[in-house]
C-alpha cells in the first residue's frame, strides 16, 4: 500500500460524530412481535378502530411473506422476536405542552445533533417535528402553519385529529401488502410525520423532521405521509442519526407522498445512521420504502437523498407518474465506507402522457464496502411521449470496494425515449497530487474532489441542508485511493 493510501485510510477511520447515548427513562414494550403487541401499540396511541383493523390486516399479511433476498446485500437473519416494537421517553403527566416541559436531556441531544428547535428554529425558518425513538416530542411552528391551513403534526396525532385524511391516503401509495418491510411497518409503526398542504398554498418554510434511534434493541418504524393538494408546494427535509451500538438495529420506514394537480413536493433526506465500526460490527439496517404518486396532471415530485450512514441501506424512493405531464426526479448520493452495504436507486413508473423523469445517481465506495445502484424505468402502454434520462456514476476509492449498477428498463409504448448513461471512475493520484501541489492537504483535496463528483445532486438540496451534506461528505467520504 502506498503512503498516500495509508494516509487516506487513516482519515477514513473516524469516530462517528453523533455516537452518543442519551440517558433518559424510556417506556418500552418487551421484545417480541405478536397480534397482542400490535393491539397494544394501537391502544397506547389511543387510535380509532380503523387504524387497529388496518394494522392487524398488515400484520396477518406480513406473517405470510418472506424476506426479500434479491438485493445485493448480505446480513445474518433478523430475529423479529428480539426487537422491541415500542419505546417512548417516559412522560410526565400527559406529555409536554411546550418546549419548557420537554426533558432537558432530550433537548441537549437535539442540540448536539444541531437540530434547530426553539428559538434557533425560528431564526433558521425551519419547522421541526422531531421524532425521538417512536414518539414525536415537540412540533414547532404548528400554529403558524395552521394559519395557512397547513397541517404538520406527528402522524399519531393526525390519526386522531384528521382521521378522514389519514384513512383516505394512508397506504394509498404504499399498500401494506407492498413488500415485507412495508407490511411490518404498517403493523407496528409508532410515529412519523403527517403533512397536508391545502389547495393553492405554497408552504412558507422548509418542513423538517429529525429521526433518531436511541434505545438499544429498538426498531424504529416511522411512517410519513405528505399530501400536496392542487396547486400547492412543499419542501420537506428529513435528517437521520443514531447512536453507536454494538448490536444491529432495524429501521423500516415507509414514506408516502401524494401530489395532486400541478402540486409540487420536494423531499430531501440526509441519512447518517450509525454505519457500524470498521469491522462491520453494529450499525443500522435501513430497509425503507419511499414512494410518491404524481396523481394530478402536471404535478412534480423530487427526491434528493444523501446517504452516508447505515450498515445496510435498502431503499428505492420512487415516483408513480399517473397524471399527464407529471414529472419525477431522483437525485442521489450514496456513500459506503468500511463494511457498509448499500443497494439503492429508484423506480420511475410512467403511466400518464408526456410524463418525464430524471435520475441522477452518484455512488461512492471506499474501504471494503459494496455500493449498488438499482433502478427501474417502466413506461406503460398509454404513456405517450414519456421521457427518461438516467445518469449513474460510480466513484471508487481504493481497490477493495465494489460498485454495481442494475438498471431495469421496461418500455411498452413505442413513442417513449429512454436514455441511460453510466460511468465508473476512481479518484486519481493525479487529481490528488494536483490539489496537494496547490497547498490543500489530503483530507481537503479528497473532500473537494468528491463534492465535485456529487455537485449535480448537492445543488438540489435546500441551502441549509447542502452545507450539512457537504460537511458529511467531508467527514465520511474520504477513503483510500488506489
Amino acid at each position: 500500500m502506498t503512503d498516500q493510501s495509508q494516509q487516506l485510510e487513516s482519515i477514513t477511520q473516524r469516530e462517528y460524530k453523533a455516537g452518543f447515548v442519551t440517558d433518559i427513562e424510556a417506556d418500552s414494550l418487551p421484545p417480541g412481535l405478536s397480534e397482542e403487541v400490535v393491539r397494544e401499540i394501537s391502544r397506547i396511541k389511543g387510535e380509532p378502530d380503523f387504524m387497529l383493523e388496518w394494522r392487524l390486516k398488515a400484520y396477518r399479511h406480513w406473517l405470510t411473506m418472506d424476506t426479500p433476498e434479491w438485493a445485493h446485500v448480505h446480513y445474518p437473519e433478523i430475529d423479529y422476536q428480539q426487537i422491541s416494537y415500542y419505546s417512548a421517553p417516559k412522560k410526565k403527566d400527559d406529555g409536554p405542552k411546550s418546549l419548557d416541559e420537554v426533558d432537558p436531556e432530550l433537548l441537549r441531544t437535539y442540540e448536539k445533533l444541531g437540530v434547530p428547535l426553539d428559538e434557533r428554529a425560528r431564526l433558521a425558518g425551519v419547522a421541526v417535528d422531531a421524532v425521538f425513538d417512536s414518539v414525536s416530542v415537540a412540533s414547532t411552528f404548528q400554529d403558524k402553519l395552521a394559519e395557512e391551513g397547513i397541517i404538520f403534526m406527528p402522524i399519531s396525532q393526525a390519526v386522531k385529529a384528521h382521521p378522514e385524511l389519514v384513512e383516505k391516503y394512508l397506504g394509498s401509495v404504499v399498500p401494506y401488502k407492498d413488500n415485507y418491510y412495508a407490511a411490518l411497518n404498517s403493523a407496528v409503526f409508532s410515529d412519523g410525520s403527517f403533512v397536508y398542504i391545502p389547495k393553492g398554498v405554497r408552504c412558507p418554510m422548509e418542513l423538517s423532521t429529525y429521526f433518531r434511534i436511541n434505545a438499544a434493541n429498538t426498531g424504529q418504524f416511522e411512517r410519513t405521509l405528505i399530501i400536496a393538494d392542487d396547486d400547492s408546494y412543499v419542501s420537506y427535509l428529513e435528517g437521520c442519526t443514531a447512536p453507536m451500538r454494538d448490536e444491529n438495529q432495524l429501521h423500516a420506514a415507509v414514506v408516502e407522498l401524494v401530489a395532486m394537480d400541478r402540486a409540487q413536493i420536494k423531499y430531501s433526506t440526509v441519512q447518517n445512521w450509525y454505519p457500524g465500526d470498521e469491522n462491520g460490527k453494529g450499525g443500522i439496517y435501513n430497509f425503507v420504502t419511499k414512494r410518491a404518486a404524481c396523481r394530478g396532471e402536471s404535478s412534480k415530485v423530487s427526491w434528493t437523498q444523501v446517504e452516508t450512514g447505515s450498515a445496510i441501506t435498502w431503499k428505492y424512493p420512487s415516483v408513480v407518474l399517473q397524471g399527464d405531464n407529471s414529472i419525477g426526479e431522483f437525485y442521489s448520493v450514496a456513500v459506503t465506507n468500511n463494511m457498509q452495504q448499500a443497494d439503492t436507486g429508484t423506480k420511475m413508473i410512467h403511466l400518464g402522457k408526456n410524463t418525464s423523469s430524471t435520475i441522477i445517481s452518484k455512488g461512492i465506495s471506499a474501504g471494503r464496502s459494496q455500493n449498488a445502484y438499482r433502478g427501474l424505468v417502466r413506461v406503460g402502454p398509454n404513456a405517450e411521449n414519456a421521457r427518461n434520462y438516467t445518469e449513474c456514476d460510480s466513484l471508487l476509492m481504493g481497490d477493495k470496494c465494489g460498485a454495481h449498477t442494475f438498471p431495469y428498463i421496461e418500455v411498452k409504448n413505442p413513442t417513449a425515449k429512454v436514455e441511460h448513461e453510466a460511468s465508473t471512475s476512481k479518484i486519481s493520484e493525479d487529481q490528488l497530487f494536483y490539489c496537494k501541489q496547490r497547498g490543500l492537504d489530503a483530507e481537503d483535496a479528497v473532500s473537494m474532489i468528491v463534492n465535485g463528483f456529487c455537485k449535480q445532486v448537492i445543488r438540489e438540496l435546500p441551502m441549509e441542508f447542502a452545507v450539512e451534506a457537504q460537511n458529511l461528505l467531508g467527514l465520511s467520504l474520504e477513503g483510500s485511493v488506489g
Binding site: 498516500q4 493525479d430 487529481q431 494536483y434 501541489q437 497547498g439 481537503d444 473537494m448 463534492n451
Partner: protein, 253 residues
C-alpha cells in the same frame, strides 16, 4: 532560494537522476533543457514531492529547509509552485473554488486570515488580465474541456494568484501555438520579481525567445552536462542535443 546537491532519484528501481547539482538565487530565471528521457520531468516531480519517485542520494535545500522531508502540500504552502505539463481535470469543481481553496491554504500557513470574497474576486480579475483569460473560465470546472492553451494559461493564472517564491514550469510551452505561447510567456514575464525564482523545463529553445533566462542548463542522462547563459540555448538550437552527450560535465550555475 534553492540548492540542489548531488541529487539521485529512481523511478520503479531505475535510476533517472544521477547527481544533479544546481543553485538558484532569488530573482533568477533558470532554464533546464534536454532531450526526451533526460530526466527533466523527474526533476520537477521530485521537487514537488510526487509519489513514486525515490530519492536515493543527495539533498535539496529550499529557503534553508530540507525540501525532501516535506509533504507536497507543505512545499506548496511554503511557496513552491509547479505548473503542470498535463494539468488534470477535476469534474464538478469550479476553477474559482480551487483557486480560493489554494490561496487560503497558503494564507493559513502564513498565519493570515481567509481571504474576503470581494477582495478575492478583485485579485483574481486583476490576475486574469495577465493571461488574457475571460471571466467565464472561473466558473468552468477545473481544466474540464479546456484546450491545451487554456490549460497552460490556467496554470499561470494559478501562479499569479498564489504568488510563489519558486515556480517550476514543466514544459509549459508544449502543445501551444505561437499566439498562445506569447500570451503564456507574457504572463510569466509579468511575474518575474526580485524575490521570485523561476525554473523552466523545456525541450525547445523557442520558449526562451519569449522568456529570456539568466541561466541555461543542459540535462542529459540524469546529469547537468552543460551550463551557461542564454547563448547556450541558441547553440543547442543549431547543433541539436547530440553533441552534449559527449561533452564533459559542465559548470553549475
Amino acid at each position: 532560494m534553492l540548492e540542489i546537491k548531488n541529487l539521485h532519484a529512481s523511478v520503479g528501481g531505475k535510476e533517472i537522476l544521477r547527481g544533479i547539482n544546481m543553485s538558484v538565487n532569488p530573482g533568477e530565471v533558470h532554464a533546464i533543457m534536454g532531450p526526451n528521457g533526460a530526466g527533466k520531468s523527474t526533476l520537477s516531480n521530485v521537487l514537488a514531492g510526487r509519489e513514486g519517485y525515490e530519492v536515493t542520494q543527495g539533498e535539496v535545500i529550499y529557503k534553508g529547509e530540507n525540501l525532501l522531508e516535506l509533504e507536497p502540500e507543505e512545499r506548496a504552502q511554503r511557496g513552491v509552485f509547479l505548473a503542470f505539463q498535463y494539468p488534470v481535470e477535476i469534474p464538478g469543481v469550479s476553477n474559482i473554488y480551487l483557486l480560493k481553496a489554494a490561496l487560503n491554504a497558503v494564507r493559513k500557513y502564513q498565519g493570515l486570515e481567509e481571504v474576503d470574497a470581494i477582495d478575492f474576486l478583485n485579485l483574481v480579475r486583476d490576475r486574469m488580465k495577465l493571461v488574457k483569460m475571460d471571466e467565464q473560465f472561473l466558473h468552468r470546472n477545473v481544466n474540464e474541456g479546456f484546450s491545451g492553451g487554456e490549460k497552460k494559461r490556467n496554470e499561470i493564472l494559478q501562479m499569479a494568484v498564489l504568488e510563489p517564491a519558486l515556480a517550476i514550469l514543466d514544459e509549459t510551452d508544449s502543445g501551444l501555438d505561437i499566439d498562445a505561447l506569447r500570451v503564456v510567456a507574457e504572463g510569466v514575464n509579468a511575474l518575474r520579481a526580485e524575490d521570485r525564482s523561476i525554473v523552466m523545463i523545456t525541450h525547445y529553445q523557442r520558449l526562451l525567445d519569449h522568456i529570456v533566462p539568466d541561466f541555461v542548463h543542459v540535462l542529459s542522462e540524469g546529469r547537468i552536462v552543460k551550463s551557461g547563459d542564454k547563448e547556450l540555448a541558441k547553440e543547442l538550437e543549431k547543433s541539436g542535443y547530440s553533441w552534449v552527450h559527449d561533452a564533459p560535465e559542465g559548470q553549475t550555475a
